[in-house]
């Protein structure tokens, strides 16, 4: 039955080659992302970005965030909890990665709310109702206006600001930085400049722990 062995051996060889390819490719792209983060460290945090937590915290989580992204929605309470439980040692900087159709409109509305100091309220309303307005085949980001109607915004002003040049500039800069940092999926996390490559809640927490330790032992 040597022919059967030829078949099985070929399968084994192809599987091995595949696994080797995965290892090589993953290492190489991890390296590229790390280098991109090092070479573009100024692109991680811009002064215009929303910050949650103590502005002087030792550990900074940068999150490239898409308001239409389900995983970003799932991670929002996790990251918020991490910041709140850190006694001012961890802060979150929100950057935008509007990868979905309609996300840019959602970002503009959130930024308009930010100009009136209601950013986090608006963000939480938008995320809570995300399944309603962010269907990927038929996004209706304009619905967010109705969701945030009662959080105390001057709505006429907010609507004007959403299409204003300041918000457009924020969006342009974030998209440029997203590309420079090779963020191609959301949420894209960096902790003190180190990209989170193996995605997951536990991995993010481990990376934050590691940076906290580094920061406390000078």
């Amino acid at each position: 039955m040597s022919r059967k062995w030829v078949v099985l051996g070929t399968v084994a060889a192809v599987v091995l080659a595949f696994v080797a390819g995965v290892v090589v490719f993953t290492n190489r792209s991890n390296q590229e992302v790390k280098q991109a983060a090092q070479a573009n460290s100024e692109a991680l945090v811009r002064p215009h970005s929303p910050v949650f937590g103590n502005p002087a915290a030792k550990v900074t989580i940068v999150e490239f965030f898409d308001p239409s992204c389900e995983t970003c929605r799932a991670f929002y309470p996790i990251v918020k909890q991490m910041v709140n439980a850190s006694f001012g040692q961890v802060r979150l900087v929100v950057r935008y990665a509007p990868l979905h159709h309609g996300s840019d409109t959602a970002v503009k509305i959130l930024e308009a709310a930010r100009q009136q100091g209601k950013y986090w309220e608006a963000l939480e309303r938008a995320l809570a109702a995300q399944p309603q307005w962010a269907a990927h085949d038929r996004p209706q980001p304009q619905m967010i206006w109705d969701l945030i109607g009662d959080i105390g915004l001057d709505m006429a002003k907010a609507r004007a600001n959403a299409d204003g040049p300041a918000v457009a500039q924020v969006l342009r800069q974030d998209v440029a930085d997203m590309q420079a940092l090779k963020v191609d999926r959301t949420p894209g996390f960096f902790v003190n400049g180190t990209p989170l490559r193996e995605f997951g809640e536990a991995q993010l927490k481990a990376l934050v722990e590691q940076e906290l330790k580094k920061a406390s032992t000078p």
Binding site: V14, V22, T26
Partner: protein, 152 residues
């Protein structure tokens, strides 16, 4: 009833002449499948609609021809040929879309990745539909050779 007739035709013939071309066809399908999975799952290129149809034709070839090889069963060629033929046709059409001969408006590529996108290339030079077409062509030729050898 002669003993050799059905055995030689259908299986367990130890020195079946068709085995080598059948093996080559299967190897091509296996490599193409591994390659498609690598591009899609590891390199993160989202398959477009036409890519999916080609995958639907290519992936089962590994199993159908693999079973044929295991049992030295010539009949597997009969079941593999329509898959390879349909896959070849879709790959050819995809290549025409990629080169702009056929407009993409004709195919349902509204959502997801575009079938005419430059992203449908390996290492920035080799169009994936061309690789696919080459693989399906090789499989068809190998299957044809296998069938001819089995008949003589």
């Amino acid at each position: 009833m002669s003993e050799e007739q059905p055995v030689a035709r259908h299986g367990n013939s130890r020195n079946a002449a068709f085995w080598t071309p059948l093996f080559l066809a299967w190897l091509l399908a296996l490599l193409a499948t591994a390659g498609a999975l690598f591009l899609g799952e590891v390199m993160g290129k989202t398959p477009c609609v036409l890519c999916w149809y080609q995958r639907i034709a290519m992936f089962p070839l590994v199993l159908v021809l693999g079973m044929g090889l295991f049992a030295s069963d010539m009949r597997s060629v009969r079941y593999a040929l329509p898959l390879a033929g349909v896959g070849w046709g879709i790959a050819a059409y995809h290549l025409l879309v990629f080169w702009g001969v056929v407009s993409e408006g004709l195919v349902p590529c509204g959502k997801g990745s575009s079938c005419a996108d430059a992203d449908v290339q390996v290492a920035g030079v080799m169009p994936i539909p061309l690789l696919s077409l080459a693989a399906f062509t090789g499989i068809l030729v190998a299957l044809w050779v296998a069938r001819r050898r089995a008949r003589t």
